[in-house]
Symmetry: C3
Subunit: 470 residues, 3 copies
């Protein structure tokens, strides 16, 4: 017998009935606010050309490393899930068979946020009312596949149906921004902006770094010298701003920063663009360039985001066979107090800078990040990131950050996703969890209810708009 | 006036009534499942020879470092508790006097898991209905002492009464396994298996290491060379498997692993068995041998357990006077991402390996362990260990692990104890806490109730059986 | 329309009604107990001379780094809040204007403990019944300013109204203790004692260290040699004991300790008092002197407190312009297991020593501190400190410490404040949170209610008195 799929209207609210009543009222006031998505990884081509999405497996499984890493951890070869190989050797290519493998193992996602997001997509986006399991795999496949062929499931229609006020994509420094230009020139009213992510030309450990820097300087009409390289950043930042960008993003191995004297910086640049680079020099260059990025932000007003502390592609065998970003990125211990000091010494008190900090190391929430953000005017706290973009992760974030940093040094929610279909589900989880947390504060008489209404709205809408200058 | 001792039927369930109702239903479905105890430290002689236990103090205080360390921390000399000295100088030897000292200070255990376990033993195993305190000390002593003289309190009778389906003990690599042989040859139906814990021949920092290795090789009929040493492991692992073992266990100072080339490994072996060893060489040898143990596991199918990160016998004075394992083992910060990589590079994707990870550093739960176990097919998460084998410890484990690793990358409960009398109490705490956590997920509509029933059973029974191949 | 300010009688209690009922009963039994304040930073001159406090801004904003750092983090220049500059350049000096700036931004404190403390001061100390916001700023200013001019708001009257049984201030080693003498000689019955905080003569990184040591030895009539320096400590400790002190306090960058041989210690002393000191030598000297302080404590019975792990004055620009202690102190990762071992090897088992440990790194609660305090007789756990002196901070402390260390290895609450007006509010938060936690244990049948009553009293009153020998 198939089981019913229903999204309970009280989901994620605290179970205590007095608290839940408050949470319901708060949520009722924010659930229909437009979505502000200031940081994410959707593909601008979707919005530029509005082509239909492919089949269920290509839409929901193959690109989602949350999904396939869990299946892989339980013994399903990535080949069986249709993940493309680096050498082109064949992998599963029957999307229905891939979907069935996923459906048979859907119980593995119990208790995970993927389950919450996917169930929302199934129930709300596609109107399915039975639970996913082996017996309903084909039904799901047929319903989703048919829907994707309709106009209502094209990117722009979903964007409008999802009530997205503005969404930011993320592009690299070599991106010509053609798709963003196409969006603007199309006359469509949806607001899609880019964000400047210069890692490929900041990180000497990127295997293509030297070539990247050469192309980058060439794109900007500059010589490959330190001064030209800096000017290239300034020019490309201007190009990105012209494509709507209000922010930059930096995905460094650590939060290390350093302010090198001009001459040393020039010498270091000459070294990193000319050959093999020591680990120390690579770290120095990244750390120095973060400071340079902060300087440029004080000049051009772009909000800066720092996402440090991941051991990327930890599984060598998976990387060799399937490439990067295959669910094997593992967080490492974080440190901000010493690492960020050189940057903060220069710009931490500068009213022109906003630096939004993210971490995967929850230990630094109460120990480092909340005290730093509760003091430095330039700092703000990004939302719980990646693995912690989840009910318990959000609860820990508020519990550990709020008492020291307050609510107003946080910037509301980022969905940070390429899983476009699930964007409203992710914002909905955040709104529900924030309302639940606020309801607990009200129920425990740590906050008045009128204040909680203001905060619920601030966290869902006002703070991300203000922090990202959108 | 004496106070009543009663174990409330709703103990450890969430207090919210709607959630508690769900927890009761879930718990009702698992409370009578047989006990699977895949990792612990009971003494195989108990089951081999079925001799009665001694008096209350020797059963419940003197061997339990949880109990005597707490009394010690509040100023009770270990001598007064009958802990034996290394030099044989006398300590308290009146078990009733020792029991009274404990009873007078039973309030010190308020809020600790020891209190939960002991109260269960008092009420359920011995049928006592008044609370332990100075006034009831003698009553307790008399009741327990009398019960221990009866057949119903012999090890095998308790084993059967406790509904233990299978229990694993832990033996060192030099153990002749005679007691396990005696169990098998006795014709008794209880299933008691061993586990292979080769630390004494893997750890050059063990003061008896060189002698251990010599005896170990001799036991296996091998020369004391690297090749012979490896073959000795293979032979002894086979001996252990013949005594029912399905797992190995490794208690290293850290999770460090390294894959040394053959020639370096040989040279290192020659060094560590011939004289004083540097800290670095000891770590290298342990790290290399963990990788060798993983290799052997891929060949012989033994499940591997790693228990790293304890500063053992931190208190020099206590160690000198009373020896090892006297309640002064203190956890240290853990690290797995870099440390385990060499092992994972070789065997992390190997379907033949199961490596179960434990930690005392809760900080790595969400940062390192859940992401690792949520990706690598070979990895599973051991239950909250030692200090964290407690209601709050279990809650933190589920809260921080589940969203990233899911339930199915965890292996259910280990009691990990030598306190045989309390084994059902420990499993009961785990079942109650897991049902409470599942009930919360159901009450918050993050999981359907039928799924929670499946998970409650999986965590209590199916997962440990599967993970340990029992 | 102005909003009502009311302190709900159930504030901070769990929202579940069964648990809340228990919390109410427990709290009812402790709410009127006298305040024991064994560690804090009130000014002894207040109690010695009983002069009225100045205006609202000088009483509640300018000295409170919790308050002004939050305003600063949101862009309010410290100059605008009347914080004095190092060079004497002018800052805001209209207290009413400062108060208005604060009032307009009072929403920034939502969810922080400052909000709880301040609302208590407004409602309970001053009897204000509307909420603070821009519209009520002047009303607040007028009410508070008028009250401060009355005898009822002089320090001694507040001390008595606040039901303070004993309060400890903290003085440096060069303090002549005149104000404490004046208190004793005044005939006033209030019990105000000092505590010995020798950091200025223990820390070679203090810019005035050498001069401090010279004055210190001179004060004690000793030569500036190692033996004289140690005798000076012994004499000054005796002076402090004569002024009621029962404790010492040590605010070191880390918990590092070392026991140097006599000759090395002498040589190190000669180095640190004669010129520029390396970071390593400074750490060695501090670490060695902590061990010496422990030795003296075993001799004179003073309870020792250790507050390690803060990067003080992280913001160079703020320090240069406004000096020390301006809200830019940031915690760093803590480590006790290795760091404290040399001290514990000597005195950890000594019944004459009580060493109370504090940390800002909550990660060490369950990993290091609870296991250490649950074993060593000399160790006790200080309450959640500084940033964690808050509802969530207290909850985490009990959740992570209790199961391993028990309640009786903790020492109840310290307010640790210079904000005299808020002292009852701080103790009230602690009593409410502890009663809420105990109520949860009772509601979950982990503790009997009669035991919870005993514990509530112990945590609020008995344990601090005993631990600090007051």
């Amino acid at each position: 017998m198939t089981k019913i799929l229903r999204l309970h209207p009280d989901r994620l609210f605290p179970s205590d009935s007095a608290t839940r009543d408050i949470a319901r009222r708060l949520y009722g006031s924010v659930k229909d606010l437009p979505i502000i998505s200031p940081h994410g990884h959707t593909d601008p081509r979707w919005f530029a050309y509005d082509r239909p999405f492919a089949n269920p497996a290509e839409l929901l499984i193959i690109p989602d490393h949350y999904v396939f890493r869990m299946l892989y951890s339980q013994g399903v070869p990535l080949e069986d899930l249709g993940i493309a190989t680096m050498d082109g050797s064949p992998t599963a290519n029957d999307p229905r068979a891939i979907w069935r493998r996923f459906a048979e193992r859907y119980h593995l996602f119990r208790g995970t946020p993927s389950r919450l997001w996917l169930d929302w997509v199934f129930a709300e986006a596609f109107g399915i009312d039975v639970r996913l399991e082996a017996a309903t795999a084909d039904h799901y496949y047929d319903v989703i596949d048919a829907a994707l062929a309709t106009d209502a499931f094209r990117p722009r229609a979903l964007f409008e149906r999802y009530n997205i006020e503005v969404i930011a994509t993320t592009e690299g420094p070599l991106d010509p921004l053609d798709h963003h230009r196409a969006i603007r020139e199309s006359g469509w009213s949806g607001k899609v902006v880019t964000a400047y992510r210069p890692d490929p030309v900041l990180d000497p450990d990127d295997p293509r770094f030297i070539d990247n820097v050469k192309r980058f300087c060439a794109m900007a009409g500059e010589d490959v010298g330190y001064a030209g390289y800096l000017r290239a950043h300034e020019k490309r930042r201007a190009d990105f701003r012209a494509a709507g960008a209000t922010s930059t993003d930096h995905g460094h191995p650590s939060a290390f920063t350093v302010n090198l004297p001009q001459q040393e910086a020039e010498a270091l640049f000459a070294k990193v663009v000319s050959g093999p680079v020591s680990a120390r020099d690579a770290e120095l260059f990244r750390g120095h360039m973060l400071v340079e990025m902060a300087r440029m932000s004080t000049e051009d007003g772009m909000v800066m985001q720092l996402h440090p502390g991941v051991h990327r592609n930890h599984n060598d065998a998976v990387r060799a066979r399937f490439g990067k970003d295959k669910g094997a990125d593992i967080p490492t211990a974080g440190e901000f107090v010493t690492s960020l000091k050189p940057l903060l010494d220069l710009y931490g008190n500068d009213p022109r800078l906003t630096l939004i900090l993210f971490t995967l190391d929850e230990d630094v929430y109460s120990r480092e990040l909340a005290p730093l953000a509760g003091h430095y005017p330039a700092l703000r706290l990004g939302p719980p990131w990646w693995f912690h973009d989840s009910p318990e992760g959000m609860r820990r974030f508020r519990e550990r950050m709020t008492e020291t940093a307050g609510f107003y040094n946080s910037v509301g929610f980022n969905d940070d996703t390429r899983a476009f279909l699930s964007i409203p589900a992710r914002h909905d989880v955040a709104r529900r969890m924030d309302c639940g947390w606020l309801a607990q504060l009200v129920a425990e008489h740590r906050l008045e209810e009128d204040e909680a209404f203001e905060l619920a709205r601030a966290l869902a809408y006002d703070l991300p708009k203000q922090a990202y200058k959108l």
